[in-house]
Symmetry: C2
Subunit: 564 residues, 2 copies
């Protein structure tokens, strides 16, 4: 059997598909035209066009979080990579695998410093510290690609950047590479599990149960069902607390699953959560630090008297490590506590961010994917959906806003049969609003809910937290999205997505019911007051200062009201 000789791009396409990379999120230019032309040589490769690279990279991130395998991106030189950098940063921080393919000028052209010439490798290192390679020849290209795939989907997952010069792409003599072997992570070693089991057992001896003295902190892969169940068995047996990192890459939750308490974004609240813990056991997680630094406040949130233990690192199998720890504690047969089903009632009256979250809890369908980038408006999302049907929660792992809408694109392509709900702040949504167009083009089942409070609301809080005093009108105007207020439903319509603006809870509930019942993308704009406006915003700094000094019961009750 003879086959036509392949150019670099065609061989690369086959290498990707054979390794299971079947989706490419693209925003191509001239230097990527041979890759684009090669799309038709591989029926298994789906190309999804984005109007902006941040959409492509964020979609690749969302896809991999749900598909548990990487997608490829196709970006246009250093500037295209730059445009995609923020969402690649979020992927990096979330340990999410992505294979970036960044087109470059032909190797003989770079010497001329043409208009689009820039140092791509330098930019790439920011998000791909583990793998940046410029392929040097058509013959070497597919091995380079296989190495990039191996790097991306190793544990921890990472962003791997393969730079593809145009002549390497168009050159003849491409040789597809067989698929690289998948990673096979191991559990924590016996000695580590035994030592941690002993520490927990000692804490139990001292206090009867370990509650309040020892805690597991789960991150990354530990927040999927197997890890959560193992941790819940340990908790049921020994009384350890189980925390989740503040911004999980993907958290499986809802009725029938173990619950887990997320570390709070506000360092002051995290301090209350961690107070009294003497042993903190990390499972694919980092010891908690504050998101930003604040004058006169500590960045490292682990109490001084607390010892940090590492059960498993991101290179290990988190669930197997937790199983081993459960075994070592004799907790393997313990009955984990599971979340009972419960839903909030139907909200009524003038719309607020809280009522939007309540409506989502009221209506959340089975097996949904919930993307939370609602910032201050999403404060009540977690409690209102805790007992909703089982769902996945995706959060902003790297703090670079503009992740949510692109993530929704990728998640919907990874899981076409599952409803995707993206809850997004107004300020946040505008970084990558172009994602709506791709939702319309690909007819994705995504409901985007935009909280329109006409403000960078969180910055009003942060302005006071950082101690910036004497705040004047010019400073306030920098946090204010009034004048003009954005009309998100119109923006949606302009990009082919059915958009509706709501100002009452009744309207919102109806719109959400309609959106969930009608295939294709929808956008519901929720016009709401700032969640932290007026009295609440003024009270917050006082509350945060006072929390560490309040009696634990009172602090915890307050915390529940305001924690994300």
């Amino acid at each position: 059997m003879s086959t036509a000789p392949l150019n670099g791009a065609q061989a690369l396409m086959k290498t990707l598909v054979d390794a299971g990379i079947e989706v490419c999120f693209t925003n191509p230019g001239t230097s990527e035209m041979h890759f684009v032309a090669a799309l038709d040589s591989e029926p298994k490769m789906r190309a999804v066009l984005a109007l902006f690279e941040g959409v492509a990279t964020g979609a690749a991130d969302g896809y991999a979080r749900m598909a548990d395998k990487p997608a490829a991106t196709l970006l246009h030189l250093g500037c295209g990579l730059g445009n995609g950098l923020a969402n690649l940063h979020n992927a990096r921080k979330g340990k999410v695998p992505v294979v970036n393919i960044v087109g470059d000028h032909a190797t003989h052209h770079t010497q001329y410093d043409a208009q689009l010439q820039s140092d791509i490798e330098t930019v790439a290192r920011n998000v791909s510290p583990g793998f940046v390679r410029t392929s040097q020849s058509t013959a070497a290209l597919c091995q380079d690609a296989a190495d990039a795939i191996t790097a991306a989907r190793g544990l921890p997952g990472q962003v791997a950047t393969l730079i593809l010069p145009a002549d390497v792409s168009w050159g003849e003599g491409g040789v597809p590479c067989p698929p690289p072997p998948p990673p096979s992570p191991e559990a924590a070693d016996d000695a580590t599990a035994q030592a941690i089991a002993q520490t927990i057992a000692q804490a139990m001896t001292q206090a009867g149960r370990a509650g309040g003295k020892a805690a597991l902190l789960l991150g990354g892969q530990a927040l999927r069902e197997p890890g959560l169940r193992a941790a819940a068995r340990i908790a049921a047996h020994s009384g350890v607390k189980v925390f989740a990192e503040v911004f999980p890459t993907r958290l499986e939750r809802g009725a029938g699953l173990p619950t887990v308490e997320r570390i709070a974004y506000l360092a002051e609240l995290a301090g209350v959560q961690l107070a009294g813990i003497e042993h903190l056991v990390l499972v694919d997680a980092k010891a908690p630090v504050s998101f930003f630094a604040y004058p006169g406040k500590k960045s490292y949130l682990v109490p001084d008297a607390c010892t940090v233990h590492t059960l498993s690192t991101p290179t290990q199998d988190a669930a197997a490590s937790l199983d081993k720890l459960a075994q070592a504690l004799g907790a393997a047969q313990a009955q984990p506590a599971l979340q009972a089903p419960s839903r909030p009632g139907r909200p009524r009256g003038k719309l607020t961010a809280e009522k939007v979250c309540k409506a989502v809890g009221h209506l959340l369908p089975e097996n949904a994917i919930v993307i939370d980038e609602a910032i201050t408006s999403g404060l009540m999302l977690a409690p209102f959906t805790a007992g909703a049907p089982r769902h996945d929660l995706i959060t902003l792992t790297g703090g670079a806003i503009g992740q949510g809408l692109p993530n929704a694109v990728g998640a919907a392509i990874a899981c076409p049969e599952r409803p995707v709900l993206a809850l997004i702040g107004d300020g946040t949504s505008m970084y990558t609003i172009q994602a709506l167009w791709t939702m319309a083009r690909e007819k994705l089942n995504v409901v985007s809910i935009i909280f329109n409070n006409a403000s960078y609301s969180v910055l009003n809080v942060e302005l006071e937290r950082v101690g910036a005093e004497k705040v004047g009108a010019k400073a306030r105007s920098q946090l204010d999205l009034n004048g003009p207020v954005i009309h998100f439903a119109q923006l949606a319509d302009g990009m082919g997505v059915h958009g509706v603006r709501t100002t009452t809870a009744e309207e919102f509930v109806l719109a959400l019911e309609h959106a969930l019942a009608t295939p294709g993308p929808h956008l519901i704009e929720a016009v709401v007051p700032q969640s932290l406006s007026g009295l609440k915003r003024k009270l917050l700094p006082w509350l945060l200062r006072s929390l560490p000094n309040l009696p634990p019961g009172v602090a915890r009750a307050l915390k529940r009201k305001i924690a994300p």
Copy 2:
């Protein structure tokens, strides 16, 4: 007289303002809150909020092109800089001064690798190879800022990046720095001017006049009135050709000014322009190279038999150097040929990209600023506006699309009394469409004209130029913005800009007349067929192949029809 002690941000603000930096384009986050708070301490500093960093950086670029001094940007850590990178790249390639202020975590916080932590300096080096500095203390901050300003506005102008850790910003003990001296570039030295004059004189001797044998290639500062006039005197005296670089940073043109022939984007056409030139004299310009590489084609466009001379580099005073050359040639008193006033008639019938350009030429007001990022749709803009009233033309200097709308924001803020017209392709506009909101918020006199041909039209051409054969449906779909077609007038309305969609030349002309007569921002969507669709697109590859072999007269006539 006693004054209150200043924190770092307040002292920085004063240093900026004292050095003439009076506008800051912002997209701040928590780590920039002290800088934001300090805005109210400096009445002279205007802060312009953008919803996306690419708008802020592109606005700073457009501002500096028109104000001839830098603005500052305020960006949020590495991801904010990443989002702004593409338009900083365009500024860098255009030799435009920008002072980036990139907030960072407090110096004591970076060790914890919090969510937003990334290697900012690495990213910055891509666009700020000449100046990246992380300020290490409040005491040193203002000197760092002065050094950044000096670096930015030196010749050539460049992007200087000052990284501002939060604690350096909030620390007490800031000491404003006196304004650094402005640059004082010198003209080419006498020997260089004499030698080039001699070369030109010899070419004149050989050919009677130097036409066709010697040419000046003007770039950067040489394309402003003084440089153009000096070059035109040289041309009038000696018959040299005068070319402009393909994508000028800012070109002064129109009735009453000397004309200049821009090197074509298409290398095939540039080859026709440069054919027969034996001496090419660079004035703040680079020897022409093709924008992209193409299989089997040369990247370097200077003919083999041509000698390249450098009259002045970007570090020198281009106009003074041209004056010196004119003097050396005895051309100082020559009468330069000036563009006669002329306008095309009022277009009629079904709208096309050509008719949009014709309408712009028909109506262009005095002293306008024209921003051309219309890609294929703007092919006829140059001929139709050649005899229009004097105006400035800003083009895409670095090839990173998404420059035009942000540039318009900055240009309108630099020159509030001048009308700004931004002609933008549909694909291009969507990279930084958020600029519309800032236009509305700041009530800027900008008319944005979006050519909606539902296509990345230029890529249809490039696909064939790079020799990508057997193009299938998937590949074509990557260049196609149909399904859904974007409704730009709706997008404008959604962001508070008056938007109108036009499909006939009559509608377009009326809309443009109304927009030019009514203060504030307007968007006119021009629904047009692809300028290079159907027969024309099929003819183009043949034409480009044939051009070098056609008789010069025929080639030139064809070139005029299709050159940008």
